[in-house]
């Protein structure tokens, strides 16, 4: 069963159209990935799903209900959670406060304590820096915090936007290990990545987005060997 289904999604910045009818699904319990070159509209797609754009057309069906007209906070309350590109942590809040804010919705607050333990289990580094201001963390730690904050929200679907962006290869590896772990724990994930090999390696299913349209989709294994992927992503 699909937890999220996006149908004919069109989105605009001011009057410029960015998405031209995007269709995709995320199955419950799966890890789905959306790949594509810079400027293909990946982040725009995610913003549209989260309700951060003014002008959006089409259907966004989450757990069987069209949520297109809900304000962002209501979407989060329903369990749709995005770990945004560039991490967007709250630099002046401490690590702990960032995590607490992650559990802002009333439902998440109930599980805050349990989730906090879980986050510290996943990222022991964060526990060491619990009272440090988030702005003083290194890039990798900030990414961990951003993901941790997402987990705090009790997500039914956790969306990760470019989690490896700007990270050293070693850190990229550990971030992907965490993602894999989350998947094994049964969290449904939607991953947007530049790093094709890594993404397809851990994903179940993938979509290729180019110029605001889905140009290809399929099993992750199949896509990895698909010349179309290389063309879209590397332009080879």
């Amino acid at each position: 069963m699909a937890i999220l289904e996006v149908k004919n999604l069109k989105a605009y910045y001011d009057e410029v159209q960015i998405l031209w009818g995007v269709n995709f699904k995320v199955e419950k319990g799966s890890l789905t990935t959306i790949l594509g070159p810079n400027g293909a509209g990946k982040t725009t797609t995610l913003k549209a799903i989260m309700g951060l754009l003014d002008k959006v057309e089409g259907e966004i069906i989450f757990e069987g209900e069209n949520i297109k007209n809900l304000p962002p906070y209501k979407r989060v309350e329903r369990g749709l959670v995005l770990v945004p590109e560039g991490r967007m942590i709250f630099p002046e809040l401490t690590v702990l406060e960032n995590l607490e804010i992650g559990a802002y919705t009333s439902k998440a607050r109930k599980f805050a304590k349990k989730n906090l333990e879980h986050v510290f289990e996943l990222f022991p580094r964060l526990k060491e820096r619990i009272h440090q201001k988030a702005g003083t963390l290194s890039g990798g730690e900030q990414q961990m915090l951003a993901i941790g904050r997402g987990i705090m929200a009790c997500p039914k679907l956790l969306i990760l936007d470019e989690p490896s962006l700007g990270l050293a290869p070693k850190l990229v590896l550990s971030i992907f290990e965490i993602i894999k772990k989350l998947k094994e724990e049964g969290i449904t994930l939607l991953l947007v990545e530049q790093n094709v090999h890594l993404a397809l390696n851990i994903a179940d299913y993938g979509y290729i987005l180019e110029n605001g349209k889905i140009v290809d989709e399929g099993d992750a294994k199949k896509l990895e060997n698909d010349p179309k992927v290389l063309e879209a992503y590397l332009g080879i």
Binding site: E15, A40, G139, E177, H197, N201, I202, G235
Partner: protein
């Protein structure tokens, strides 16, 4: 061939973070030099330090043999540098024509308003934006905005032009069109320094490529040399071995 630009041991620190670490390279006249590297590698910072948008922490920049490290940006532009932005910065409420006229008026060309208008129209024609000349710049779409950035930079009759991801967000057809433009610009005797993610494009067009990672230059050479470089594959393309490790884990 003669150097137009020389960068020596350029470093930039933001607080404790080292964004650029001792980067040195040279650019020859009329060459196309590509700069690649993963996001956050320091490519844009490098551009910004060379053009004085950021003040470098240490190091020197020479333009046509002169030390210009600490000249303010506008003076560098007047000397013959032209800059485009990764995140396009159109002067939103001015018309496309006026945008380009700013470049012509205040670049190296230093034209009068009337001359600038002629020059701007010529360049808009060259870049295929002529029919949009009276539109407010903010209303252009992304590829058009990118071309506007180029047009503004060119209008000042520069000797050296910095292109920061001008191909990003363009579709393959647009990319090849833009590549043609870039080559034509070079034919005019202009040196080009470009940051780019699109591998096939930069491979095709560059004379030489520099690879940055974590603020350091990790490789320099012809496109062919770069494509084979292990370090580059690991840092930039994503190491296939890593992926394998994950699966076996």
């Amino acid at each position: 061939m003669e150097n137009i630009l020389q960068v020596k041991n350029l470093s930039k620190k933001f607080g404790g973070l080292i964004a650029l670490n001792n980067v040195s390279f040279e650019v020859k006249k009329q060459e196309i030099l590509g700069i690649i590297g993963p996001n956050g590698a320091g490519k844009s910072t490098l551009f910004k330090c060379i053009t004085s948008i950021y003040k470098p922490s240490s190091g020197k920049v020479y333009f046509e043999g002169k030390d210009i490290t600490y000249l303010p940006t506008y003076k560098k532009v007047k000397l013959g540098m032209a800059i485009t932005h990764q995140i396009v910065k159109p002067l939103k409420e001015l018309s496309v024509l006026e945008n380009v006229m700013v470049g012509a008026c205040y670049g190296k060309a230093n034209l009068s308003l009337k001359e600038a208008k002629e020059k701007a129209l010529e360049i808009l024609d060259f870049l295929g934006l002529y029919d949009k000349k009276d539109l407010e710049a903010g209303k252009l779409n992304v590829p058009q905005k990118k071309r506007l950035e180029m047009a503004r930079a060119l209008a000042g009759k520069p000797d050296l032009i910095f292109l920061d991801e001008v191909l990003a967000g363009l579709n393959p057809a647009e990319v090849s069109k833009m590549l043609e433009v870039i080559l034509k610009i070079r034919e005019k005797g202009i040196t080009i320094l470009m940051i780019e993610h699109l591998m096939h494009a930069i491979m095709k067009i560059s004379d030489r490529i520099i690879v940055l990672d974590h603020g350091q230059k990790i490789a320099e050479g012809t496109p062919k040399e770069i494509a084979k470089n292990e370090k580059v594959i690991e840092a930039y393309l994503g190491d296939p071995k890593f992926a394998l490790k994950l699966v076996k884990h």
